[in-house]
């Protein structure tokens, strides 16, 4: 690695002289030379190929930009194409000295250029926030430097159809001693990059009883997630924080280790386990980030007991401030928007929206609610039960009756799973349809969301990052007959059970958060303010 760095520097000086002549070709030539260097070094050294490719990739990344980016695990995905490109230059070029570039024929150059383009294309979707293609040399980008002090993001890009990424994931899980959950059933091709698990094959099947690697509270939590007993963004976050409280309580610092560093390492396998059981939600991700930050901020001279009580108090405070008090603030704002005689439409079961409506009914507002529900989860039934228990008069329809019911509706209240940085609302599948039809009927759509669910991700469609639920949930038995029973045998049939979808900000009229009522496009402002605060 040191060698290529030295030669890199030497080559760069040569390149600078050629800048005026060859313009765009410059960086590609540099890459060519680097590759040739590497090839000759490979024959001399006896290291593994992968390490060199990785090293050279990293060097290439470091070379144009002065930032030392943490090698995202997407890079190995780019390394095999790089390998292919490296093996392409024919054998005679391997032994040739770096200055012997003109000896290459035009055809070989073309082939190399094509290979490089493939590399760049392959590496582009994988590297988010990275400096991008090498042609933008030497320009440190403003956002990465700003994001640098923030704790590293949880990986969002699941690439199940990429065997390299899968292998890496399997290796990581093996290192952490967590069983790998295998995918189930045929996946619709558009969503083949996502995981699809079966509820009947829980991860606990492969764990020992009692589980020695993973804290039993975490095993219980993972099981509850995968079976849907704890569902809903707020519920999952609260349950996660409760479980972490217990983990912290039972934690004992091993000798010669510091609590601030070791506890974070202990939490990593738990988080992978929970991710295997059910992909983490944005709210959970933010909660984990917060806890990790708090743990790493513990001063080293702090005693263990003190540190533990401090962390538990932090968690309690987080829940109280970000969830409970935020709900109170949001309902205060939202109740201003509810007037007497209103007909409010809600979709599915959102704990926040239910809370708002119950508070409004306690404040003696006269309104009625239409609950819209959709298969296969049919969460609306639970929302209906809770609202009726509070004495609110409700109507219940399925989403197919939406346009029939909308002429009577005066407002639509929607809950959100997460609010993305470009103003899109990520919520239960079907929400975007409701917003769309409501817009067509000129009915105001209000989204209620706490600020801790705001997420720095950017997404404009529901395909790139979503969650696939168990496809067997779509099977329904009526009068003793299950029509879809043998769906796996039919080769042309695939069942798709999506969980989330994104709603564009043009359909959302107002977002009610604990900071106030903001338009959808102000979400990045809130995020920026939050980052500066932290």
């Amino acid at each position: 690695m040191a060698d290529s760095g030295v030669t890199d520097g030497a080559e760069r000086k040569e390149d600078i002289t050629r800048v005026k002549n060859e313009g765009k070709e410059l960086s590609k030539e540099e890459k060519q030379r680097l590759r040739k260097e590497k090839k000759s070094q490979k024959k001399n050294k006896e290291k593994k190929d992968e390490q060199d490719a990785l090293a050279s990739e990293r060097e290439k990344n470091c070379a144009p930009s002065t930032l030392s980016q943490p090698a995202a695990h997407k890079e190995p995905a780019a390394s095999p194409p790089v390998q292919a490109a490296v093996s392409e230059p024919p054998a005679p070029a391997a032994g040739a000295p770096p200055a012997d570039k003109p000896a290459k024929s035009k055809a070989e150059l073309k082939a190399e250029r094509r290979a490089r383009q493939e590399t760049e294309r392959a590496s582009k979707p994988g590297k988010k926030g990275d400096p991008g293609p090498q042609s933008t040399a030497g320009k440190p980008k403003a956002p990465p430097s700003e994001l640098q002090p923030v704790v590293k993001r949880l990986p969002e890009h699941v690439q199940v159809d990429n065997p390299e990424v899968l292998k890496k994931l399997a290796k990581k899980l093996e290192r952490q001693q967590i069983p790998l959950r295998s995918d189930y059933g045929y996946k619709v091709s558009l969503f083949s990059h996502l995981h699809q698990y079966s509820r009947k094959a829980p991860l606990t099947q492969q764990l020992s009883i009692p589980s020695t690697v993973i804290h039993p509270v975490i095993v219980r939590l993972g099981l509850q997630y995968s079976q849907g007993i704890v569902a809903g963004s707020n519920a999952r976050s609260v349950a996660l924080l409760h479980a972490f409280k217990q983990v912290i309580r039972d934690y004992v610092t091993p000798p010669n280790e510091e609590l601030s560093r070791d506890m974070v390492n202990k939490l990593k396998p738990y988080i992978s386990f929970l991710n295997q059981c059910r992909p983490l939600s944005a709210s959970m991700g933010n909660a984990i980030k917060y806890i990790k930050k708090e743990i790493s901020n513990i001063p080293s001279q702090c005693k263990e007991e003190e540190a533990k009580t401090k962390l538990q108090a932090c968690i309690d405070r987080y829940i109280r401030e970000k969830i409970v008090l935020a709900a109170k603030a949001i309902s205060k704002y939202a109740i201003e928007k509810i007037s007497d005689g209103d007909v409010i439409l809600v979709y599915g079961c959102s704990s926040l929206v239910n809370h708002i409506l119950c508070e409004a009914s306690e404040k003696r507002r006269k309104f009625r609610v239409i609950v819209v529900d959709s298969r296969p989860r049919l969460e609306g039934r639970e929302a209906l039960r809770r609202l009726v228990k509070h004495g609110i008069s409700c109507t219940y329809v399925l989403i197919s009756a939406l346009s029939y019911v909308l002429p009577e509706v005066s407002k639509v209240f929607l809950g959100a799973h997460a609010l993305l940085a470009n103003g899109y609302v990520m919520s239960r599948v079907g929400t975007s349809q409701i917003a769309l039809v409501a817009k067509a009927f000129n009915v105001p759509v209000l989204v209620c969301c706490e600020t801790y669910k705001f997420c720095e991700r950017v997404q404009t469609d529901s395909f790139v990052s979503n969650e696939l639920d168990d496809p067997d949930d779509l099977m329904v038995t009526r009068k003793g007959k299950t029509q879809l029973e043998g769906w796996q045998q039919v080769s042309q049939l695939g069942l798709l059970n999506l969980v989330y979808d994104v709603t564009p900000p043009d359909f959302v009229d107002l977002v009610i958060t604990d900071l106030g009522m903001i338009p959808c496009t102000s979400v990045p402002v809130v995020l920026r303010v939050k980052n500066v605060d932290q």
């Binding site: 606990t204 009883i209 219980r220």
Partner: protein
């Protein structure tokens, strides 16, 4: 892993070479004195200090290939107090040696009531306890209008219990058996007035008054564990375990009992002779190791069926025929012996020309020449004289008591 047993068994365990090699668990053996008649719950009370977390209790006479995670998952997922396993009972087809006439099994029927999903345990009683008839409380019917009552189930005696139950046992010394008393008590307590905040009309249960002190203790143990954060998570979660009425998940109750009923697979509790024999018949299918132990000396002209097991150090002479039998370690079988459908334990010597059918021969017995045993039960270290002909007899020494 804590093993509770008597001193004798512990001695046997420590001398058995197989135990040392094959058992991978770390065993902590606790001895109880032999004379005292300890029930299973008493045994738990005995080791209460060692118990620090939720426990899985099983009896050593359980042979099963069930997936344990199913039971434990029920325990974990629903945060239940008790999770147990049951399986469908089989009729035993083998003739049990030493038994005269059929045993009446009707009195020992268990009535088990489960809800629609087949997981939640609503009712459990033994026929012996129900004298006037089966009575079900209205509170149960109101919460679970559909209940399936099954009688053909056998209890596998595998229980997942919360630590609070062990603490409760420590204080409530009147319960002595898990199966007979603790489990029905917990199942009843799910729907009692004290555990729920809802009022129930029908309370015709006199036993609840006797256990009033127990009530208070159990409530303390159970209600304190539902921490506020867990309750908050449950409130926020859009999940309910039932639908059709206006109550919250689990009807707001904190005590829950779950059962996993095995449909397929084998599950034997070898605490009766019939079950023991049945299990031995199926033993060759369970083990992956070869039926005939490599260290056994088996001569060439003997017929050993594929469904027989020969233990280590056995010596089988010529012209013997062994079918559907289990032969233990260090057994000497001389020539021209026919062993069919039998269980021969360790250290037995069978002299020439014997014919053993459907019998159980215990350790260190000697069967004399030419003996003919049909459906007999031969005790430890007994000697059968040559040319004896016994059918359907129990041959024990006067100092030994054998329970069938």
């Amino acid at each position: 892993v804590i093993v509770i047993t008597t001193k004798e068994v512990q001695k046997m365990m420590s001398t058995d070479p197989k135990m040392k090699l094959e058992v991978k668990m770390k065993l902590d053996v606790v001895c109880i004195p032999e004379d005292t008649d300890m029930g299973t719950a008493d045994a738990l009370r005995h080791i209460q200090q060692k118990i620090k977390t939720d426990i899985l209790v099983m009896s050593c006479d359980l042979i099963t290939d069930a997936a344990l995670h199913e039971v434990v998952d029920l325990f974990r997922a629903h945060n239940s107090t008790l999770a147990m396993m049951m399986s469908k009972a089989h009729e035993f087809t083998e003739t049990v040696p030493g038994q005269k006439g059929k045993k009446k099994t009707a009195e020992q029927r268990d009535f088990v009531g489960v809800d629609e999903s087949g997981k939640r345990l609503l009712f459990m009683a033994n026929e012996a306890d129900l004298e006037e008839g089966l009575s079900i409380r209205k509170s149960i019917m109101r919460k679970h209008p559909r209940m399936h009552i099954k009688t053909g189930l056998v209890d596998a005696h595998l229980y997942c219990l919360k630590k609070s139950v062990v603490d409760f046992l420590a204080e409530n010394k009147s319960i002595s058996s898990i199966r007979g008393e603790l489990v029905p008590y917990l199942v009843r307590k799910q729907f009692s007035k004290a555990a729920n905040s809802q009022t129930t009309k029908d309370e015709a249960d006199e036993q609840s008054q006797k256990h009033k002190d127990g009530n208070v203790n159990l409530d303390l143990h159970i209600l304190s564990r539902d921490e506020p954060l867990l309750q908050l998570a449950q409130d926020y979660s859009c999940w309910n375990d039932h639908r059709g009425d206006m109550s919250d998940a689990y009807h707001g109750g904190t005590l829950r009992c779950y059962v996993h009923i095995m449909e397929q697979g084998l599950c034997y509790r070898v605490n009766t002779l019939a079950a023991y024999i049945e299990a031995n018949r199926l033993a060759p299918k369970l083990f992956e190791e070869p039926a005939v132990h490599p260290s056994a000396v088996v001569s060439e002209r003997c017929l050993i069926g594929s469904d027989s097991i020969i233990g280590a150090g056995g010596q089988i002479a010529e012209k013997t025929s062994i079918k559907r039998s289990t032969i233990g370690n260090s057994v000497t079988v001389k020539e021209k012996v026919k062993v069919t459908n039998s269980i021969v334990m360790h250290g037995v010597t069978i002299e020439e020309g014997c014919n053993i059918q459907g019998s159980v021969i215990c350790s260190n017995a000697v069967i004399g020449r030419g003996a003919d045993l049909k459906y007999c039960l031969v005790g430890n270290g007994q000697r059968i004289e040559p040319e004896a002909e016994r059918t359907n007899e129990v041959i024990v020494g006067s100092d030994q008591l054998m329970e069938i």
